[in-house]
Symmetry: C2
Subunit: 130 residues, 2 copies
Amino acid sequence: MNIGEAAARSGVNAKLIRHYESIGVIPKAARSGGGYRTYTDNDVHTLAFVKRARGLGFSMKEIKKLVSLWRNKSRASADVKALALRHVQELEKKIAELDAMAKTLRHLARACHGDGRPDCPILEGLSRPL
Amino acid sequence: MNIGEAAARSGVNAKLIRHYESIGVIPKAARSGGGYRTYTDNDVHTLAFVKRARGLGFSMKEIKKLVSLWRNKSRASADVKALALRHVQELEKKIAELDAMAKTLRHLARACHGDGRPDCPILEGLSRPL
DNA sequence: CTGGGGCTTCCCATCGTTGGAAGGTCAAGA
DNA sequence: TCTTGACCTTCCAACGATGGGAAGCCCCAG
């Protein structure tokens, strides 16, 4: 099948498929006589795998590793688990950062009248060391 | 003072200061005879304001508005509060997304032996619709 | 055999930040 | 006064992941 159908079946945009190929996340697709990329059901499966990994927040670099582990039948599950848990830690770190931001901001906003007057604890909070 | 000292005092990188000026987040700095940017204590204060706003996750677009509200003595605190609360909502949305990712991944990882064998529920989870 | 839709490659934009290159300015020391 | 070296200037490019568009080729249906 051509890239358009592979995109429709995998849920990955055709442009993105070409991009993934160019950065080596997926292997280079076979080409038809006219130079069109051709895909198998297996390729579509790989694309859907990549899409789901993106949905879990993995970087393309990590996904590259995940795909190669996935295709390597003699992988050690410990390698996959390590990659996954490292990513969970990154997620938790980001969550903690965003949470701290939200907490601070909610605190400042709570003290702000929010009316027509110019006095604003939010701006004051941003004006001095937090 | 020159940009270097302004950078040291505000905690904002000199390159970043030029960038902020170029995108209009801060007003254009005055220039010395030799074409060097010159900064006042007030400018440093503005830069520190921007830095703290970044630290709370505001986009440069939002910070541009915050800076203009900050400099506008006749602002309405309601405008600031609305901007802040909208941002809190964005933060909460991102947190929820990351949290869902982490939950899914922890769930998959819990089922993975993490030894030398190739069987891996994490890869299997990524292979089929989540 | 022609039209139009799919495909190709290439470049540009986003967002915030950082890096380098090539060159001008300034202040201190010989 | 001249030199040195730190500081400054502008411009160009990159990161990561994605999207948009242009110019041009390929392929199938009518």
